[in-house]
């Protein structure tokens, strides 16, 4: 049930990403170059909606519908890894003009250039695991 619910939210998320043109590298690049404000308007509208919804949920003290857990949005203190990781992520985002959600949406739309990016993401995740293991 939990997995099915997550998949259904995923369908809405993927449909919206594709419909908003986020899977089109030209839309993201035009946004990052400030030639078209759509990317930032879209992103901040999404964030603002999420912010209001999340804070209302937190204050209403309801339990999660499917798991029965108390709703506790996780917050973290900034560490060096958040900056270091995001520098690398920002580089990859700008080069590919795509981030993980849009890459997955490209795959769904049959844009097969996404396969190269996905292979890269898998390698990157494996490198992260290897590095975490080497450090312990």
């Amino acid at each position: 049930m939990i997995r099915l619910a997550a998949a259904l939210v995923g369908v809405v998320f993927g449909f919206t990403l594709a419909w908003s043109g986020m899977s089109d590298p030209d839309v993201i690049r035009a946004g990052l170059l400030f030639e078209d404000l759509y990317l930032f308007l879209f992103f901040f509208a999404a964030m603002a909606t999420a912010l209001v919804g999340v804070q209302l949920l937190r204050r209403s003290r309801v339990r999660a519908l499917l798991t029965g857990e108390r709703i506790e949005p996780e917050t973290l203190r900034p560490e060096r890894r958040h900056v270091f990781g995001s520098v690398l992520f920002g580089l990859g985002w700008a080069i590919s003009a795509a981030c993980p959600g849009p890459v997955a949406a490209q795959l769904g739309q049959g844009i097969f250039w996404s396969l190269a990016t996905i292979v890269g993401i898998v390698i990157g995740l494996k490198l992260h695991t290897a590095r975490a293991r080497a450090r312990t």
């Binding site: 995923g10 594709a18 919804g53 900034p78 080069i95 898998v122």
Partner: protein, 159 residues
């Protein structure tokens, strides 16, 4: 205007943005979870390397995401195949494959290290009020904008 036309044109930002934001709210309300996409990729990679197909909810979310984009392509008629943006307008096909592969490594390693991508940190983390997510978002936005301008400066106008 028929349904196909409505979905074939880019959704207004004030429709698509809130729709995306509500997905974050839904995952929290239903599962007490933080919506993210890199977590989904991790889930799938871990399960596959264990030779198991029993995905967690982050993995099924990713599968749903791919399906949702497919659904959009079916409903709207999809988008004309015109290459891959500035990359295919600037570089040869083998070079584009290599650049996308390298970008993918940076995205996968970077997002996992930073504990999230544009969705996990940029949308969910910021909405949760996580200072780590704000730090990550400011960083990747600044780096992505700067990198885009530098690449435009080096390789010229191809957007």
């Amino acid at each position: 205007m028929c349904v196909r036309d409505a979905f074939a044109t880019q959704a207004p930002w004030f429709v698509a943005g809130p729709l995306l934001g509500l997905c974050v709210v839904a995952v929290l309300a239903l599962l007490n979870g933080r919506l993210g996409v890199v977590g989904g990729f991790s889930d799938v990679v871990e399960r596959v390397s264990e030779r198991s197909l029993k995905l967690g909810w982050k993995g099924t979310f990713l599968v749903g995401l791919v399906g949702g984009a497919l659904l959009w392509a079916v409903v709207s008629g999809g988008r004309a195949d015109d290459g891959y943006g500035w990359l295919t307008r600037t570089f040869s096909d083998p070079a584009v494959s290599l650049l996308l592969l390298v970008a993918g490594v940076l995205i996968g390693f970077g997002a996992k290290t930073a504990g999230g991508c544009t969705a996990g940190n940029g949308l969910s983390g910021n909405a949760f009020g996580s200072r780590a997510a704000v730090t990550a978002t400011v960083t990747f936005m600044a780096v992505a904008v700067a990198t885009s301008f530098v690449t435009k400066w080096i390789w010229g106008a191809a957007l």
